[in-house]
């Protein structure tokens, strides 16, 4: 597992998606993600696209296929970090990913994963005194 691109944070798995992805790299990355979910019991996988400046339909497919695999393991994929120019292009391309939730930043991702941790199965959040949003 490449610790450089996948980080565990509480209930969340933070995946930094690299700028260019080959088909082989996609397979390796998904394998690492699924392995990590199993190892840590993570419920949320955050795909962060901050480093991606060109997001074509290949990336869209990557997001959907990863999302389906992750769901089969009982977790959810959320995305963050899409650059403005990338979002504009995706929308015009027609690739709006309506079934994938997007969050603004890591804080929101963590809040979401904590909510899911309380409601569903999986490990409880480590520190109960963290500031949380009311439901």
């Amino acid at each position: 597992m490449d610790s450089g691109t996948i980080q565990k944070l509480e209930n969340l798995l933070l995946v930094a998606v690299p700028r260019d992805l080959t088909d082989d790299e996609v397979i390796l990355m998904r394998r690492d993600i699924l392995r990590a979910i199993r190892a840590y019991g993570s419920q949320v996988v955050l795909l962060d696209f901050t480093q991606v400046d060109i997001c074509d339909s290949f990336f869209g497919r990557f997001i959907y296929s990863t999302s389906r695999m992750v769901q089969l393991m009982g977790a959810t994929v959320i995305i963050s970090g899409l650059q403005d120019a990338v979002i504009e292009t995706m929308v015009e391309l027609g690739m709006t990913l309506p079934d994938v939730e997007a969050v603004l930043d890591l804080d929101d991702a963590l809040a979401l994963s904590r909510r899911l941790g309380r409601n569903g199965s999986g490990p409880a959040p480590a520190d109960g005194g963290l500031p949380e949003w009311e439901e």
Binding site: D20, D53, I54, S57, G60, A85, L93
Partner: protein, 137 residues
């Protein structure tokens, strides 16, 4: 350098060629003065067309060139060419969601939306040439 500023030519045979061509194409667009968002769109179109070449024809070429209409605006032209199987139902292929490769079906239709002019010339078993143009405003 004058020659790389005006025209880029890529042989598409691997995924590295796809990333290479779209990145250099994006840089050419930026050098020409395209706004960042437009350069991103141009890069995505190059990426989509290059990937289509890889998936369907295995090999082909992408040419990206800076051009100018006489008495008209400057523009960037992307020409994707292959001698692959061709597109049998072109109208269908140009609609959202149609795919024969298990993808999102947005490659051709989406690319057309991102550019100002989009021409597809395809003959079954002879090959496909896509020409896409975006004007510099």
């Amino acid at each position: 350098m004058p020659d790389t500023l005006q025209r880029l030519h890529f042989r598409i045979q691997t995924v590295t060629d796809v990333s290479d061509s779209r990145r250099k194409g994006m840089q050419l667009a930026l050098d020409m003065g395209f706004a960042h968002a437009d350069a991103t769109k141009i890069a995505v179109v190059i990426s989509e067309l290059a990937r289509n070449i890889l998936i369907y024809a295995k090999t082909g070429t992408i040419t990206v060139l800076a051009d100018k209409e006489p008495d008209g605006p400057r523009c960037i032209k992307i020409i994707a060419d292959d001698k692959g199987p061709g597109i049998p139902h072109l109208e269908q292929a140009m609609t959202d969601g149609y795919t024969t490769s298990g993808g999102l079906g947005l490659g051709l239709s989406g690319s057309r939306r991102l550019m100002d002019e989009f021409f597809v010339h395809s003959q079954v078993n002879r090959g496909t040439t896509v020409t896409a143009v975006k004007y510099l405003r």
